[in-house]
Symmetry: C2
Subunit: 444 residues, 2 copies
């Protein structure tokens, strides 16, 4: 559970200001991405379940209030009031797994101003990270159709929660599972793993290491063959396979973790096939990302599965999203930020998605909530009066949604490296509301 | 506290293998960085305190063992054994705040093989992230000497722990504090914060927003002036300053968060000075990193303090370190990995650092633990028999160490953008041990 103090101090100093000025009317905030990072044509929404959990449990502990009391920033009466604060608002959001584009709200909060303000930091912290990883993972899945992908990135993920939630996001996007055992327990994600180089190195002899491992877990025999000389190690695997077969133990796969993976995989496959061991798979890992996966796939390299690690869980080529959570309406009046380069569309909004007769996405329209446009409305009710209004979606449900979403992308959006030119249309109703808002603000 | 299941499955399957083969002699693992990321000339070690805490508390809960039991990977007797596992080993490490270079071990574990193996994932997860952020933060500090820097990056940090530990790492590196309230409570780091654009936007009038805020917290008046028109907002600040002064309320600073920060700061400074308000500082934020800070500094832009956010807490230009935790010795015999591109130096090692008469770093030598070289030995005893042997260092102690370390860097290493050419010397003793190890492995 998240400490409610995991927030920026300015949220609390603003809350003191709102309290002082008795400003607690209804506020509407929306969370959206301003601009896609380089080399991204779309994003995949993820993390809503953790947001709901956070909002349902929002409360300050006595210890936290005591810390704030001695911090010197706050008046005693304000803190008495803060100690009673709970989230009682409404949330509408795109279901996890929905593909989305810049300027489209993925989540809307309607709540008394102080509540809607306070939750900003953690909402962004939760949604941007899982969205980032689900989007990166979706690119890996698109790059290597039919291959088994496993998240190996816990060690270089940015801490505990990043490792845990990256495993979740990658699984949602179509990964087969994760090496992260805690993610297995917390989310019932399939877990994968066998041995590291240290296992081989701790033995005086590579073959003895292989044999010992196979006997210790006869149903999970995947052997790491690149500690010393990969092709020589395959000869040992072939000899061992015959020996183990007599004890009804079967080697499932070999793993290569360094060197020229494509060349080694071809050599290993040739040797294994030559020995009649077509059933032994090849699993590769080491510095992989969607670009490497696509190269292997295009060149038909005989690798059956991949461990994707650091570059997945850090989203290394785009380690953050230019996202924002902005006030769109307060006390019934639409609001708009016009800071240079950070303009926002005012008011409560909805996104309508259009598809062709084959279900392929053809366009989105961003409009005001009261307007109706052709297509499917993407934002759906999630919480009312501070309570969730439907039970949590299973990871399998979200996985299916993402698989369908990726299927429904036009080829241009699926491309790893080419900008798609996809544009979100702005409705006449939203343009008119923006004009009126600017007029009220004296901006035109 | 960390779940001991926050690890890779292969650690546990290897442990089952070791258990099956009765391999529990003493193993030596060292954690090091193979290669600096682009645009880094050095790294700053951080995260040791969290590692010690993790190792002292290492144990599986009943619930975790129950999960492993139903996972299908493990034998019942092995899990009974695993339930009793604790960390009883020795740890030597560079103190937090030590500057280090590739191939230099920052931490050594000497423990029965299963224990030393199991902890790999979380050790890397903790040390690589804080080291990454402390190193990025140190670059920001070097880029803007004498300026006050504040961590604003919680929202786009990769989850809960990343936000918390990034605040710690940045403070160690010389930041003045953080916006992250939880980091303030957990680590006694100074916290900073006043208002966001939403505060201004929720009011119908910008001046009313400024006034309300100032009255609500008269000792923390920093006003955000870029919501609509930055220079027009300064006029309102000037008018308000006179009004507030009569009530003995003083505006400390204004903040600019968008637009051409340098040009705006110059314009704002001119207006404030023209009104005799030299004492009102200028604080800037928005998409900052060490390169932007250096530009402002070199151009003498009148900005007194900076909020550094996303690019700090994601270390955006280098979001991970090529680091490894490798078996160096088992059962008294030095070990070495020779996988392509991933070769390691065998055996227990020590790093000696040489300085000139002004204390400026002149070179490091990597050698075997038993060898003696000129200079200061960087790895120091931290834990013995699973217990810490000294009390935790205060953050202030580590801050002072980093400040001294940064002071002692030669100019070439301080440069943000030029490769330094700094080379870690390998001692004759270590070269000889490597030769012997390769001979034993039949590699030469």
């Amino acid at each position: 559970m998240t400490s409610t103090l995991l927030t920026d101090l300015y949220q609390l100093t603003m809350l003191q200001g709102y309290w002082h000025e008795r400003m607690s009317e209804t506020a509407v905030f929306e969370l959206f991405v301003r601009k896609l990072p380089p080399r991204r044509n779309f994003l995949v929404a993820a993390g809503l379940e953790q947001v709901i959990d956070y909002l349902e449990n929002l409360a300050f502990t006595h210890q936290e209030i005591a810390y704030l009391r001695q911090s010197g920033f706050f008046q005693a009466k304000f803190l008495d009031h803060l100690a009673t604060l709970r989230f009682t608002g409404d949330v509408d959001a795109m279901p996890e797994g929905t593909v989305f584009f810049p300027d489209e709200p993925v989540l809307r909060i309607v709540a008394p101003l102080p509540q809607a303000q306070l939750v900003e930091t953690r909402l962004i912290n939760l949604l941007q990270f899982q969205t980032l990883i689900a989007s990166k993972a979706a690119r890996c899945v698109l790059a290597a159709p039919g291959k088994s992908l496993v998240d190996f990135g816990l060690r270089r993920a940015h801490g505990y929660e990043a490792g845990l939630l990256a495993a979740r996001a990658a699984y949602l996007a179509g990964f087969s599972g994760t090496s992260n055992v805690l993610a297995g327990m917390e989310f019932s994600i399939p877990i994968f793993g066998t041995m590291a180089h240290s296992y081989i190195m701790a033995h005086d002899d590579e073959l003895a290491a292989f044999r010992g491992f196979a006997h210790s877990q006869p149903h999970n025999v995947v052997l790491l063959i690149d500690t010393y000389d990969t092709l020589k190690a395959v000869d040992k695997v072939i000899a061992l396979a015959a020996e183990l077969a007599q004890q009804d133990i079967h080697i499932k796969a070999v793993r290569i973790d360094s060197g020229d993976l494509a060349a080694l995989a071809l050599g290993v496959r040739r040797k294994l096939d030559g020995a009649g061991l077509q059933q032994i798979g090849i699993f590769a890992s080491g510095d992989l990302d969607e670009y490497a996966l696509q190269r292997f796939y295009d060149q038909k390299i005989p690798i059956d599965g991949f461990g994707v690690g650091t570059k997945l869980t850090t989203s290394n080529d785009a380690p953050y999203l230019n996202c924002a959570y902005k006030l769109q309406e307060y006390a019934g009046i639409p609001r708009r930020k016009v800071s240079s380069g950070k303009q926002t569309w005012p008011g409560r909004k909805q996104v309508y998605r259009r598809r062709d007769s084959n279900g392929i996405l053809t366009g989105d329209t961003l409009t005001t909530m009261d307007d109706r446009q052709e297509g499917e409305a993407l934002l759906q009710p999630v919480m009312r009066d501070g309570k969730r209004i439907r039970s949590p979606e299973s990871l399998e449900t979200i996985r299916k949604r993402i698989a369908m979403e990726l299927d429904s992308l036009p080829a241009g959006l699926k491309a790893l490296d080419e900008p798609s030119g996809h544009v979100v249309e702005i409705s006449p109703a939203l343009l008119e509301l923006t004009r009126q808002t600017d007029m009220r603000l004296g901006l035109n």
